[in-house]
Amino acid sequence: MRIITHSCPECGTVVAANELEDNRVMKCPREGCQEVLRFDDLTEEEQEFFLDNRDQYQI
């Protein structure tokens, strides 16, 4: 399974694509970090791959 992640540019917290897609726009989950993370922060190819294979990222 391809695992897609994104790192917060402010604090380095790594967030899995399924988490980003669930929220679309979210505050960085690191306590105290105010950075806003978006599913759109992933490359277009990553977004497309994730959405095409969304089922395998659900439990």
Partner: protein
């Protein structure tokens, strides 16, 4: 080498304790389980640690560990989100480990002798991974490794009917970055998860050698209440006596008792170690606290006989009954029903509680 500490999971086997917090924060000898893992990694020279978080307990774990500076380590958080398996959790750490070897530690596991030997045994130019094994009497219940005389793993078998050895996999691994490529090729198992044993098996099938290290000291997966009690017993057995708190004249203390600075054992109370008593705990007259008991912060013990029990904290135990082999969650009240009519036990019990009356 960097460390990846897996701290997700729902803690379903530890309910109701985990209804209000992650299993990695349940205390053993008055210290959250996850702190033992951080200390083990630090002792092995691993000071850059990625803590993988699931859905449950994200804030609480971050609140406890912070940036890691209080433990002398540097922590990066990795949010896995959906619990898609241990191999998925490891895969989420790819950016963090940055193409280098890394050690994986399950955040609810405890290992008496830590992971130093496993790390030292692993030579990345020879092996794709290193696994920790322990001899067990019931290998049918575990993932089992078939190893040669040099400790090189030949194959892994999950819960075999006819085990090739009595060496079970425990929750500690060292990986080369090669594992990320095999994880990319893994398919979810029947339970919808990417399994770490499948990743190791794929490494073998791709021609990588797998090192193994047999753990001789105790190892505990603290996933169930009885495991917490057992881990508490094992840790307290190794504890040193330390009486920093107040012991009033007329109190009786024997054995290895750890008494925190602001805790008090009042006159007429009896404490027999090994016992751990946290800050702001009072053991009142007429109470007996016996071996293998840990009492968490801000708790009042007035009258009971307690043995082999973990009290998480913020509680009042004022019954004069006997409490043994018990795990009591935060802010619990255990009171006496004596004199109350009609006679009987009165309970407010949460979902998934277990009572033996």
């Amino acid at each position: 080498m960097r460390g990846v500490l897996l701290s997700g999971g729902t803690g379903s086997r530890l309910r109701p304790i985990t209804h209000t917090g992650p299993k990695q924060l349940v205390p053993v000898a008055n210290k959250p389980v996850i702190e033992y893992a951080i200390e083990d990694l630090k002792a092995a020279g691993v000071t850059e640690i990625g803590v993988v978080l699931g859905h449950k307990g994200r804030e609480e774990i971050q609140e406890l560990l912070g940036d890691g500076s209080k433990y002398g380590v540097d922590i990066t958080y990795i949010v896995q989100g959906n619990p898609l398996g241990l191999a998925h959790a490891v895969g989420c750490a790819r950016e963090f480990v940055d193409d280098s070897d890394f050690v994986v530690y399950l955040g609810d596991n405890m290992l008496r002798h830590g992971v130093s030997d496993l790390i030292e045994s692993f030579q990345s130019d020879e092996y794709g991974a290193g696994i920790a094994l322990q001899e067990v009497s019931n290998p049918e219940a575990f993932g089992v490794a078939d190893v040669d005389d040099q400790g090189t793993v030949k194959r892994l078998v999950e819960k075999p009917d006819d085990p090739p050895s009595n060496l079970a996999l425990i929750g500690m691994y060292v990986f080369s970055p090669a594992v990320f490529d095999v994880i990319e090729d893994l398919e979810p198992s029947w339970r919808g998860e990417l399994e770490i044993t499948d990743a190791i098996q794929s490494l073998l099938e791709n021609g990588y050698e797998i090192d193994s290290h047999v753990v001789t000291g105790w190892w505990k997966d603290t996933g169930k209440p009885e495991d917490i009690l057992e881990a508490n017993r094992l840790v307290l057995e190794d504890a040193e006596r330390s009486l920093r708190g107040t012991v009033e004249d007329g109190a009786e203390i024997r054995g290895k008792v750890q008494l925190a600075k602001s805790a008090t054992i009042e006159s007429g109370a009896v404490v027999r170690g090994p016992v751990s008593i946290a800050d702001d705990v009072t053991i009142e007259d007429g109470s007996y606290v016996g071996p293998y008991t840990s009492i968490g912060e801000n708790t009042r013990i007035a009258g009971p006989h307690i043995e082999n029990t973990v009290i998480v904290g913020e509680s009042e135990v004022t019954t004069n009954g006997r409490i043994i082999d018990s795990l009591i969650g935060r802010a619990a009240q255990v009171e006496s029903a004596e004199g109350m009519l009609p006679e009987g036990r009165r309970m407010v019990v949460g979902e998934n509680s277990q009572l033996h009356l």
